[in-house]
């Protein structure tokens, strides 16, 4: 899935991606630029504390990405597109993920 960097994210150095309901799955979500994806090297990550199977929890959830300061206003600019992927069970394995994003800060 893809998100675009907001002005606030560039100013804060933190990208906040709000999801409408806490997902069942969990793990580490990695962020890539198109270039870094080719190299399989994420530029940031966030934890996804999922609800787990059987839970009826329905709260909003947020992915909290700390952006690399060296990349701000260089590779990472307002409206830059980021590709989000979920950690796989193998080292360096990244899986596609789809979340119902309601807001990007």
């Amino acid at each position: 899935m893809k998100v675009r960097l907001s002005k606030k994210a560039i100013e804060d150095g933190v990208l906040r991606v709000w999801v409408d309901r806490i997902p069942e799955q969990g793990g580490i979500v990695y962020a890539f630029t198109e270039e870094s994806l080719k190299l399989n090297k994420p530029i940031g990550f966030a934890s996804l504390y999922g609800r787990g199977p059987g839970s009826s929890a329905k709260q909003r959830s947020m992915l909290y990405f700390i952006l690399e300061p060296d990349l701000l206003n260089k590779e990472l600019q307002v409206d830059s597109e980021l590709i989000l992927k979920l950690s796989g069970s193998e080292e360096g394995e990244y899986l596609d993920i789809e979340l119902n994003v309601i807001e990007v800060e």
Binding site: G26, Y49, K58, S87
Partner: protein, 472 residues
Amino acid sequence: MTTIAKLNFLRKRAGLPLIRFDLMRLRDEDIQDLREAYFAMYEISDLAPGDRRGYFAHARGHGYDLDLCHDDNRLFLTWHRSYIYSFEKALNSALQWARNDTELELTLPYWDWTQYAAATHAPNGIPRVLNDEVYDDVNGLETFNPLSSAPSLYRRVGLGLSGDDEWTTRAPARLRSEIPQLENEVARYLSNPNFYAFQSDLDFGAHGMVHVVVGGSDPNSRLPFPSGDMSRLVSAAFDPLFWLHHCMCDKVWADWQALWPNSNVPQHVLDSVVYDGRLGRDLIDNEHTLRYIYSEDSVEAAIGAIGTSAAPPLVSISAAASKTTPIDLGTVEGGFVRAELEFHKLRPPKESFEVRVYVDNPNCTASTGYKSGGYAGRAVFFGHGPCHGAPGHCNPELAHRDRYDLRSKHPLRYDHTRYRIDITRGLRKFIGRKKSVDNLCVYLVIVDESGKQVAQDALIYDQCSLRTYAHA
């Protein structure tokens, strides 16, 4: 030695708030108290899963199977403050139960996950006290460490696992490398005076990260996801480390409150009811309402600050019971519109039975019936039944509540009970047209479910009085 549990008992007696310490500050005896308290909670849950002093009764409230948490992310801080408060009180109740010592006030320590030291932490970043599966007890015997893993109701009942698979697991390979980042993050959150912004960054930042990296990645996990219990909210609270992690989150909030004393807490947070029925507004002031504070200092420093006390323990004075058979009501005047026999501090009975009241009939029995013989009225008591908890569960004397323990009262407390039996018609009939009757006595017949009369001591109360009402 003055342990933390003893120190806090002294502080409570002195009217001071209890102290929650950094886990790394605990001495061997304090760690032993913590281990024993956790183990006692597991034991209580094994004896009776529903016993509120037990581990399952609390852990299941987070995600399995009561699923009380995570419906409103705006209540993250108040919900968890209330949650670990109730857990902490149960932890202390369990230690008191295990030690048969009521003069203990064990508090939950916080695990400061922004710190790491090779001498005290496992290479994976978890303090050894929480990480190592075994420890050497006072006799040098290798003993299971109940802080490293706990039995999980989610695993046992939800997933049908048994044996070793019932116990929580962790795969924290990534935790240690995250620790420096967590320290930076906490500093960042503390700099933001906006409550919701501070809360959501802590919730979905460091708090979530610790959950996910402690659970870690484990392809061989017996859970329906490839990681340990901490990584999903349905299972997380069964990990014993969960409570110390959330104690740290609560401390970060307390630190933020100290930094920003004039920051507004949103009305929605103040007005919302959270875990154990507490209102958000009653959870804001941890020091004065909940009676606890955090300390980064050593336990010795806190002991030095309070001094030692040689004062004898407080002894409660119990009221003398004046149970009487017959029950002498003295002079009773007629002309009332309603008359009730009122029992004060009546102990909720274990068995179900019927209590019949007869006026001026010392020979009344179960066969006297309702039509004659001075019958005045009756009440049927619905007994609470045999104890379904661990030993001590149905003893309200072991569940003392005060301003240091705001859990709901024990259901069998009798301090404020007032049971009334309407005896209007029978008493009116007896008094008839007289203005008053002197030395009026009533008699009780107690009948069990089979109609058989049982001994008078089935009904235990402190006092009985007649309450009459006149026309306004």
